[in-house]
């Protein structure tokens, strides 16, 4: 057993019932100017605006939403690549950044795979050096780090003999993404964030990488946060799904429930926008008109009301809360809450 193994041994502190990651009231605004008189900030991009959720151990949480909804900002906040304006993270019960779980220890536990497989690799490091880099930084001897790198390169489906000495430009997109996955696993993390990790791959290669991710998850006992704009891929990968719109969580629930019987009109529209895959049942009417509004000046009340076909006066006036509508299923919509003041509100929308 080497130094890294010792540091990561017996890491499960709270038992299976304690969420691996708890996110509470996360806020991130970018830019903007302090207005005259110093009351509030104007013109800021409301990238993430009060997001809370849990990720259970060994599960996959899918995050979906359109561009600009804040899903990648959320991933970067969780990785602590950028600081949050407000909110806190608990990782297996410990406050991230506090004494018991400093950033170095946290980064060992949480790793990330990005969409752009080329930009996220150092062009001057070989595959072997890339994967061995973090273990070396975290105190492993050169030999042990290389041995671990070879093992991981093999486990992501590449032959170490052929690939260890190659540079990123000598690999295909699918191979590069496999190297990125191997690198993410090099510190034996417990949580891996996959931010559109398969989106840039050709379809035939995408399926291979998805299979690999599923195998690795059970092999290493991983927990995933899987971010994608492709609902089919999210459905395939996730136990629970979180839907974001303009920096807010609009719906959160078990994947098979949420995607079969969505309760928020935005989730319904996202599902209805997926190509039908049946030449005889093509989509005839666009589920939504227009593009998402700018996150610089989000609409008042419910942020979706400007595009929602169920919009009522109450939607523009007040902001709906993310409330439980069924066991483990939450939606932020007046339609889903009886007595909310929405004319069509009821237990079943």
């Amino acid at each position: 057993m080497d130094a890294l193994d010792a540091a990561t041994l017996g890491r499960d502190r709270g038992g299976p019932a304690q969420p691996l990651l708890s996110v509470r009231g996360m806020v991130k605004h970018f830019g903007g100017r302090r207005s005259w008189g110093g009351r509030g900030i104007r013109g800021a991009v409301h990238a993430v605006d009060g997001v809370s959720f849990d990720v259970a151990k060994g599960q996959t949480l899918g995050i979906v939403g359109e561009s600009g909804c804040g899903k990648s900002t959320l991933a970067r906040l969780i990785m602590q690549i950028i600081p949050a304006d407000a909110g806190e993270f608990l990782f297996d019960g410990e406050v991230v950044g506090a004494h018991a779980l400093d950033l170095v220890a946290y980064r060992r536990e949480v790793q990330m795979v990005f969409q752009d497989s080329y930009a996220s690799l150092n062009p001057r490091l070989t595959v072997e050096e890339t994967v061995a880099f973090a273990p070396r930084v975290h105190g492993l001897s050169r030999r042990a780090a290389i041995a671990r790198a070879h093992d991981l390169i093999f486990r992501v489906g590449l032959d170490p003999k052929r690939f260890a000495a190659r540079y990123p430009h000598e690999l295909s997109g699918g191979q590069r993404q496999r190297v990125n996955i191997a690198r993410a696993l090099a510190l034996q993390p417990r949580l891996v964030i996959l931010d559109e990790a398969v989106s840039a791959l050709d379809k035939s290669v995408e399926a291979q990488v998805l299979n690999l991710l599923i195998d690795l998850k059970s092999e290493f006992g991983l927990t995933y946060i899987f971010i994608s704009h492709d609902l089919n891929v999210v459905r395939f990968m996730s136990d629970r799904v979180l839907v974001m719109y303009l920096g807010k969580v609009v719906e959160l629930g078990p994947s098979e429930v949420l995607l079969a019987a969505p309760r928020h009109p935005y989730t319904m529209a996202l599902l209805a926008s997926m190509p039908s895959m049946d030449p005889d049942r093509r989509i005839t009417e666009p589920p939504l008109f227009g593009d998402p509004p700018s996150p610089i000046d989000p609409p008042s009340g419910c942020r979706f009301y400007t595009r929602c076909k169920f919009a009522a006066p109450v939607c523009a006036a007040t902001e709906p809360v993310l409330a439980e509508i069924a066991p483990a299923h939450r939606a932020a919509c007046f339609l889903a809450a009886a007595g909310s003041g929405h004319p069509q509100a009821g237990p079943i929308a």
């Binding site: 459905r235 593009d291 998402p292």
Partner: protein, 335 residues
């Protein structure tokens, strides 16, 4: 070429010079398109689908890209057009929209002026008439408050609106053929379906022939009458949308359809996959380019080019399994 056929491509080859050796990006593509019909060219990156479109538009660099074969659009031989004829051909006969409207639209001109300029240049009309046409087009592609939007610059619009503006620009001179190179790939799903429905509507109302390049089977199904599947610079299967999707004849098409996540039986179940990666165009395998990834490969497949076999009315595929030469017991059923 029958009167109805507006695009007729036969034996199209494109070789790129400049590397250590010439690179054959398109290796013998045949396709025909009738007026008012939409063809989806479906394929992965590097399969030659975009290069085929660019050859039709004569957008490839002349000195570095050698085009072979026959290319006829609306009765004109595209390969021999003079510069003068070419500028009339582009815009009036054929027009193209791209994945990135941000790159196709000029950032320093107002959108209305860009469209008006194209109309003035091609139709020889006044500036006022050009602006009127621009407004008509903006309304046609359903840009809200079109009159004000004409004075916008490209960066002032959202992605979906920019894509609509580019479609308006492409339609400015009433082309007969519209080439679309992944025009919805960069868009969000809710915006993508709006643009696809718009293209379908315009295609029907204006009687356009459309060639739509995409890597997404779902998008092809939404838009196409005909589907042509490309692999390694060739069309490996072509036919009516329903025929190709319901009864794929080529193992590559069948594999693509089977590996869709939407069809997975349950969360976390393994997906059927096509092993390996698309081939390196500089080092193509001998024989059928798909053979190294195909689960039905026989020794025959590595020896020669697979024949183009008819598998149904208007439905063809290039595969030894479908031809008599493969011998008995080789009949392949698409899954």
């Amino acid at each position: 070429m029958s009167a109805d056929e507006i695009v007729d491509v036969e034996g199209l080859t494109v070789d790129f010079l400049g590397g250590a050796k010439p690179l054959r990006a398109v290796a013998g593509v045949d396709l025909t398109l009738r007026r008012g019909e939409t063809l989806a060219l479906l394929g992965e990156s590097g399969s030659g689908k975009s290069v085929t479109l660019r050859a039709l538009m004569r957008l490839l660099p002349e000195r570095r890209a050698i085009i072979g074969g026959r290319l006829r659009v609306d009765g004109q031989d595209v390969r021999v057009l003079s510069d003068r004829d070419l500028s009339a051909y582009r815009g009036r006969t054929i027009a193209m929209i791209f994945q990135e409207p941000g790159l196709a639209l000029d950032p320093v001109y107002r959108l209305g002026d860009q469209i008006a300029e194209a109309v003035m240049r091609h139709d020889g009309v006044s500036r006022r008439a050009g602006r009127a046409r621009a407004l008509e087009l903006f309304e046609r592609v359903r840009i809200p408050s079109a009159a004000q939007r004409l004075d916008n610059y490209a960066h002032e619009m959202s992605g979906g609106m920019r894509q609509r503006a580019m479609i308006a620009l492409a339609l400015a001179c009433r082309p007969k053929v519209l080439l679309a190179d992944e025009p919805t790939t960069a868009l969000d799903a809710t915006v993508q379906i709006q643009v696809l429905l718009l293209l379908r509507e315009l295609q029907r109302e204006l009687g356009l022939a459309v060639i739509f390049v995409t890597h997404d089977v779902g998008v092809a199904i939404e838009i196409a009458d005909q589907i042509a599947v490309m692999y390694a610079g060739r069309i490996v299967e072509t036919g009516g949308c329903r025929d190709v999707i319901r009864a794929p004849a080529h193992p590559y098409t069948a594999g693509l359809l089977a590996s869709r996540t939407g069809r997975a039986s349950s969360v976390g179940a393994r997906l059927p996959v096509i092993p390996g990666a698309p081939p390196d165009m500089e080092n193509l395998p001998p024989g059928c380019a798909f053979a190294p990834r195909c689960k039905h490969t026989q020794s025959l497949c590595e020896r020669g080019d697979p024949p183009d076999v008819s598998v149904g009315p208007g439905h063809r595929a290039r595969c030894f399994l479908l031809s008599a030469a493969a011998g008995p017991g080789s009949a392949f059923k698409g899954n």
